[in-house]
């Protein structure tokens, strides 16, 4: 075989490689240039993780700048990415919606987890022409995601939604294919209300979903839902609101249907005892007990993960303290409910460990 043509391909490939290599070189130089001052000034703090909490952090960044002169940067790469980054110590703090697992704590070597924001997971759906707010119970949600409930006009759903006149459409259950703190919150709820879910699928940032289809990121889930009539899925409530996707009210332990608004989240957090303790920093307010008819059952804390005894410990302490106190006032506009008193007190104790 002649090699002229191959030579041409090779030349092109070589050219491409040179371009890629020079891009990498440029990128690393730029990266080094921006990273260099970080070492000189200790007031520069970098973080990465949860995209859930990103809208709130972007409000905090300028405020922290004017309060302490800190130069905070944050990349919303997802909770999993945040845990990986803080474990590798490539950032000064990580943010995650799912509490760290034992293995993750072990890998992170002396990391401290502090709850620093409070919000909820919304159950989004796409039912064209249905204008009433859908009401769903935990039993129905787990049956949908287990693949046992497949039509919208099934009496098990239609029974609670008499006025809605639900159609004879197939239910497409959408879940996150990537590891996600929102999935953790959602599976924690399903496990709390369904023994089958608890024993078969468990609680975690991902699951062995037996039915439905997976999409990458909240944006992927939202993309599938907006394009598929009859679909249902979940994302943080701020995301659902911002993207104008309808979401359901969910049955709580008091037998009422609650919405994931600030009042619903506040009522869920109000069920915490007057003094909270937790060995690893994780707190749960999923499916709170009877007594708070407004409580939204899929509410969650989201956490900041900071190494203990780092060279920037003093600055990190100050930053997290500011976030759990003054920073909370930025929350309500973004559907983050300010932390209740006892959680703040718990956060102070955690901050001391930094």
């Amino acid at each position: 075989m002649a090699t002229k043509g191959e030579g041409r391909i090779m030349k092109r490939a070589l050219g491409l490689m040179v371009i890629v290599a020079s891009l990498v070189a440029v990128a690393s130089v730029v990266g080094a240039a921006t990273a260099a001052p970080a070492k000189k000034q200790d007031t520069s703090l970098s973080g990465a993780g949860s995209s859930f909490v990103f809208p709130l952090i972007s409000k905090w960044i300028p405020a922290l700048g004017s309060a302490y002169g800190y130069n905070v940067s944050y990349s919303p790469i997802g909770s999993g990415g945040g845990i990986a980054a803080i474990t590798a110590k490539t950032v000064d703090f990580g943010a995650t919606d799912a509490p760290l697992t034992k293995d993750q704590f072990a890998a992170c070597k002396g990391c401290v987890e502090v709850p620093w924001a409070l919000s909820a997971t919304a159950i989004m759906y796409n039912l064209p022409g249905i204008n009433c707010v859908l009401r769903l119970g935990g039993k129905q949600l787990s049956d949908i995601y287990l693949g046992n409930l497949t039509k919208w006009n099934d009496p098990r759903i239609a029974g609670n939604n008499g006025k809605c006149n639900l159609p004879d459409t197939k239910i497409t259950a959408v879940y996150r294919s990537d590891n996600s703190g929102t999935t953790y919150n959602f599976t924690e709820y399903l496990a709390a209300v369904s023994p089958t879910w608890k024993s078969k699928l468990g609680v975690g940032v991902n699951a062995q979903w037996p039915a439905g289809l997976g999409a990458r990121g909240s944006s992927g889930v939202a993309g599938v839902i907006t394009k598929t009539p009859g679909s249902i899925g979940y994302a943080d409530v701020a995301y659902a609101l911002k993207n104008k996707i309808r979401f359901a009210s969910v049955l709580n332990a008091s037998g009422r249907y609650a919405t994931p608004g600030l009042r619903g989240i506040q009522a869920a957090a109000a069920t915490l005892p007057a003094k909270v303790t937790s060995e690893d920093g994780a707190l749960s307010i999923v499916n709170p007990p009877k007594g708070n008819p407004l409580a939204y059952p899929i509410s969650t804390f989201t956490y900041v993960v900071v190494p203990s005894g780092s060279s920037k410990a003093a600055e990190l302490k100050k930053m997290v303290y500011w976030a759990v106190t003054q920073g909370q006032k930025f929350g309500p506009a973004l559907l983050f409910q300010p932390l209740p008193k006892q959680v703040q007190a718990f956060a102070y104790k955690q901050i001391k460990k930094i």
Partner: protein, 323 residues
């Protein structure tokens, strides 16, 4: 160090020193590059296997034929993903190969140069679309089209085949295979075009002179001449399809079951690694994902080695028949 006085008419002696330095440098760089790439491949393989080792020890080879992936109860098996990888790639290959050959033949044998050049550029530009963009298009535009039009059509006319049975789904094995087809066509068609343009003119002219039609000339002369190259191109495309993760992860729906039908979601090795490695909740989950990576590595290496073996065999056969 010669003692002879230089002839004034002779050309000035070449600066040997400079050439030697260049030679040495060139040799050195070439050697480092060649050895470096080999070392990277070796180190990478070693690294993947050593990181995956705890999972390999824990689950042994039964991992390969175990179905199930539950990070919350530490059940891990690769079968669903191996199945997904092979099925999506083979479908992509079955669709892309004839299309690529047709494109290449059109561009070299049928289309006039003015038409061929821009089309060739467009086809090659298809390869320049970042896979994440293609995946986004897949989930927002292509997937819904597949679910609303293609799958109902296939189901109506070929629904008696189990592979086209069941409810349409906008994310699944079929849309993933079709996106992969789009991704490998530019690669295989570009190579096929090069191959066909290299078929000696006198061979095809001779065939035409002997009274064969253009199709006969293509079938009897051009295709057999290019056959070894085509099979190598196809295997290169297969390698690309096996390894593609990002576009697939966006359109395959991350399913956990093996279905007869091509409509429901499934998952591939690359896609599962891409979606689950970051933020894996336990050490054993991360190690199991690396075990998947090791399997993918082995499959890809075997594909590439067999591609080379096929090319070598064809070339040997040709040398023997012509020489």
């Amino acid at each position: 160090m010669s003692t002879v006085t230089p002839d004034p008419l002779a050309p000035a002696p070449i600066d040997r020193q400079g050439i030697r330095l260049g030679d040495v440098l060139f040799k050195g760089i070439a050697f480092v590059a060649a050895v470096g790439v080999t070392a990277v491949l070796g180190l990478l393989t070693y690294e993947v296997f050593s990181l995956a080792w705890p999972a390999i020890e824990e689950f042994r080879l039964s991992f390969i034929w175990t179905q199930g992936w539950n990070p919350n109860s530490n059940v891990y098996g690769a079968l669903v993903f191996i199945y997904g990888t092979i099925v999506t790639s083979v479908i992509a290959l079955l669709l892309a190969t004839p299309l690529s050959i047709a494109i290449a033949l059109f561009l070299t044998e049928i289309a006039p140069g003015r038409v061929a050049a821009p089309i060739a550029t467009m086809v090659e530009l298809l390869a320049a679309i970042p896979s994440v963009v293609l995946g986004l298009w897949g989930i927002l535009v292509f997937g819904p089209w597949v679910a609303n039009h293609l799958e109902p059509f296939l189901n109506t006319w070929f629904g008696f085949l189990p592979i086209f049975s069941g409810d349409p789904s906008q994310a699944g094995i079929l849309p993933a295979a079709l996106v992969l087809t789009i991704m490998i066509i530019p690669i295989t068609s570009a190579i096929c075009r090069e191959l066909f343009s290299r078929v000696p003119r006198d061979l095809s002219d001779g065939s035409l002179a002997l009274g064969s039609t253009r199709w006969e000339a293509i079938r009897r002369v051009a295709i057999p001449y290019a056959a070894p190259g085509i099979s190598a191109a196809v295997l290169l495309g297969l390698g690309r399809a096996f390894g593609e993760a990002i576009a697939v992860t966006q359109v395959i729906g991350s399913g956990n079951t093996i279905n007869e039908s091509l409509f429901p979601p499934g998952d591939t090795l690359g896609s599962r690694i891409a979606s689950s490695y970051i933020g894996a909740s336990t050490a054993i989950e991360a190690q199991s994902l690396l075990y998947l990576a090791a399997i993918l590595l082995v499959i890809s290496l075997v594909t590439n080695v067999s591609a080379q073996a096929i090319v070598n065999r064809f070339q040997k056969a040709r040398r023997m028949s012509t020489g």
